[in-house]
Subunit: 233 residues, 2 copies
Amino acid sequence: MKSGYTDQYNTRNKMYVATDCIVFGFDEDGLKLLLFKRKVKPDEGKWSLIGSFVELEEDVDDAARRVLKEITGLEDVFFEQSYTYGKAERDPGYRCISIAQFALIRINDHDRELVKNYGASWHNIESVPQLVLDHDRMVRDAFQKLRDRARRRPIGFELLPEKFTIPQLQQLYEAIYQRKLDSRNFRKKVISLKVLEKLEEKDKTSSKRGAYLYKFDHDNYLKLQESGINFEI
Amino acid sequence: MKSGYTDQYNTRNKMYVATDCIVFGFDEDGLKLLLFKRKVKPDEGKWSLIGSFVELEEDVDDAARRVLKEITGLEDVFFEQSYTYGKAERDPGYRCISIAQFALIRINDHDRELVKNYGASWHNIESVPQLVLDHDRMVRDAFQKLRDRARRRPIGFELLPEKFTIPQLQQLYEAIYQRKLDSRNFRKKVISLKVLEKLEEKDKTSSKRGAYLYKFDHDNYLKLQESGINFEI
DNA sequence: TCAAAAGTGTTACAAATACACCCATGT
DNA sequence: ACATGGGTGTATTTGTAACACTTTTGA
């Protein structure tokens, strides 16, 4: 025990439970990760995932919701458990296990001010800085899980705006799979899933010709979520 | 707080971390689950998964290994995290989150005496009794995960004896998927994976003609584990 | 008129599915 | 000789992968 500390203050003398959120966001320039710059010792100034200890009377899921609300201003965020990190030595400061959860949000929906005030910022998924503790591994694992999930269930709904174009949806999948997809095969595949509803309007922000806007058919989307698909493309 | 208790004895005044093991076993009569009959209050006499609190200085994985060793006598058991259950009210006795892990073992390898002494026993996967707390859900979730896993990675290695027949392997998959498979297609598929090594010997315990024994090609099996497959059959 | 992104069809190949009979052997 | 489970092959369908040109329109 460190000298001067009594048991009461020894943070390794008790079990802590934390949750860390791997927040994936998508906007017009791609897939990003929300990180924050630690303001306190140890590791002050280093990048970290956003997270929190789970309170005694709080569900683990609620802790994730609380953190997401606090930092992005958003409620009803889609998130899913990724993995629980339980090595005794994973955090030198506390005996702390962490339940990692990944969240999917539309970057344009969140509260930019709030994020800024928390010292948080968005980082392109291709250029994530080194993170504290085992957070690098958490990001790798969660990204892998996101990829697996995208292959088996549709996921655009949580990341795209209400109305979106097929090229935008394709960009999302390209960012997740980290490779180029064939636009003809992609279009064929997503249309065959029968979850897209074509609108009359066009989006002209990224081409002169404009691309038709679509929205998800919520019912069919949910059915697909439950039944699963094989989105190997 | 219950009267007569001080803070020190109030088990809801501190965070506990437990691990519960969903132990799947396979033998000549099918896929089974290892359960144990609680010997202490509360819920004395009710069926439960095997589990333990995670010690302060112990990795979560090691806690699972410890429990499995204690109850089955086996070391080097294959196990994988399933899900972490973190509702504040999931256990009325303790504020306790539980990391569920599923394990796969060959029933004929384990220590029958030890299991018996612990009040544990094997239950056919089709007829699992009602369990304490949220253990029913843990079993459902883990079985679902096992099914998903079997579809993407080979799993026979952990559950079958060193030498086994193709009909036995098929029985395993039928027990996991809970449906009959076509023997011609099954055989075609597993042979195409190139992880089976055909032996000269035959097993005559279940037919007069006898079925050829096979063993897994360990290297190719591991490669398949890593690269993944689509075992949709 | 040209640059830039949107949209469209066909063919080849691979994999999954459905399906029925003969084989070997112990009793 | 017959009952029992083991073993084999083919045709069909389905899905994936590869591939190139025309359309629209603002600048």
